[in-house]
Symmetry: C2
């Protein structure tokens, strides 16, 4: 795709006199972003949301940052085409790779999941020792370390890549029936990952992957009641609410469908079931082609 | 002073099991910090505050950053000696020079005025063009540019050093009677400074000096109703409240004197009158020697 001109066109188009009833765009490569969408839906009762799951190119984790950045810009352009008043990057990898570029390219606010989670951890910690669990990619980029240091230079951060927890969260997303042997195995994996963090005397742990709210029981069982868990999903919803409130942009009443889900891959049914499980409601899911500017029916 | 060991001693002493009834330390080189103190007092009705004005070494603006940093650490150590549960650096110059060092040295939260003001501007702007007026020192250090870019890389920032506005605010602090000729001259100075910012099409202007809430009438007369003014004093109070609330550290009821002011210079009477004017209450003001760990009477 050609990044600069078309993106700026869409951005300016989108920024021109958007009403507070305009939808909020939310996206992720896969299912993890549903935890952010769920927090948004619960904390913003009158807003409409368009969720895009880029499942055709999922996962983003193993890809080069440049490539992920181009995906982020492409999806933001697509969502801006629906007249979104704000875009939420509901994925840590995509935030780390593409947030700044998207903020430069668009005239509507683009919010990522990293700074809100980092801010909450900075506000909460008393021991000034914070842990972060995330995918290998997010840990490698050090996005949380940077964000925390920028807010409070005196906080000691210990990061830990915990990729198998994503796998466990995925299996829970898919609604597999409870199975005692698997749960025992999950608990063993969580212990193996988290015991070293426990030894670091942290009092606050950031769930630095949008999948992790689904496994916070496993995490808190290991960490114990003395360690507060920060959900970047909840914190991002809080930040979005704060921005809309401050700008006087909160939707005043619900208008039409509250949530619409689009996917780029073949897995429409999987997204429909997961949306139902996580959000507790039936939502329409359709397959889309990012090249099109379709979906005008929602405006 | 020897920076590392004594500071960490005081910090660890202060951090051990501080009750929510512990005071909040606030400091500035001079009178500007009173606007922050005022916002804190109004938004936190049950908290106690110890305000330190380092008037013996005021102003900090022309000094080297290293020197200001050593002052910041010395004052934080002094305030930590009173068992403060949090310290607020109510001065832009001191925040830019010493916040990170103080956050590294102390185990209680140390909050500056720059990030809260930057955050508010990022949340508010629709044109994504923000102005900052501040002292020459704060502009030179680019503290707001950095803080805004970190939160939103796409926002265009125009800074302007407006030192004469400090002088005007000072004259208002001192409670000089209204004088039409002076007010006309003040309006002229404000126009001269602010017209170039107006041409930048900003929609949000950060008052990046703690003196400036006293001259916001002059500023808004020039900028007009289309430009929102961000008071770093109000935003810092909001941030402090958010931190205390999140940590469960809000004082539950008022206990004793709400505000105690200390100054390092001879100008006790000037501080007493200014405190009375800005806070609208009589507060005790005493001269102190930073080398002492006195003031235990307030604990």
């Amino acid at each position: 795709m050609s990044i600069t001109d078309p993106v700026r066109d869409a951005a300016h188009m989108a920024a021109s006199a958007l009403p507070s009833s305009a939808p909020i765009g939310v996206f992720d490569s896969g299912l993890g972003g549903f935890t952010v969408l769920d927090a948004l839906v619960r904390s913003l009762p009158h807003e409409r949301f368009i969720f895009l799951g880029d499942s055709a190119r999922c996962p983003y984790g193993p890809r080069e940052a440049d490539e992920v950045r181009s995906f982020v810009l492409e999806i933001c352009r697509f969502l801006a085409g629906f007249g979104c008043k704000m875009i939420v990057i509901a994925c840590n990898t995509a935030t780390a790779a593409g947030l700044s570029a998207a903020q430069r390219a668009f005239d509507i606010p683009v919010v990522g999941v990293v700074v809100p989670g980092a801010r909450a951890a900075v506000q909460m910690t008393r021991t000034r020792r914070v842990g972060v669990i995330a995918t290998a990619g997010t840990v490698r980029q050090g996005a949380y370390e940077d964000a925390i240091a920028h807010l409070d230079a005196g906080i000691h951060v210990t990061q830990k890549a915990t990729p198998d927890l994503v796998r466990i969260a995925e299996s829970r997303f898919s609604g597999v029936a409870f199975d005692e042997a698997s749960e025992r195995e999950y608990a063993r994996i969580a212990r193996e990952y988290l015991e070293p963090l426990k030894e670091q005397d942290i009092d606050t742990l950031v769930l630095g992957c949008t999948h992790y709210p689904l496994i916070c029981d496993l995490v808190s069982d290991v960490m114990g009641p003395g360690v507060a868990l920060v959900s970047s999903a909840e914190e991002t919803a809080r930040e979005v609410r704060s921005i809309l409130k401050r700008r006087g942009d909160l939707a005043q009443e619900s208008a039409g469908a509250r949530v619409q889900v689009m996917v780029t891959g073949d897995d429409v049914e999987k997204f429909r079931l997961t949306a139902q499980g996580v959000l507790g409601m039936d939502v329409p899911v359709e397959r889309v082609d990012l090249g099109s500017r379709g979906g005008e029916e929602m405006r």
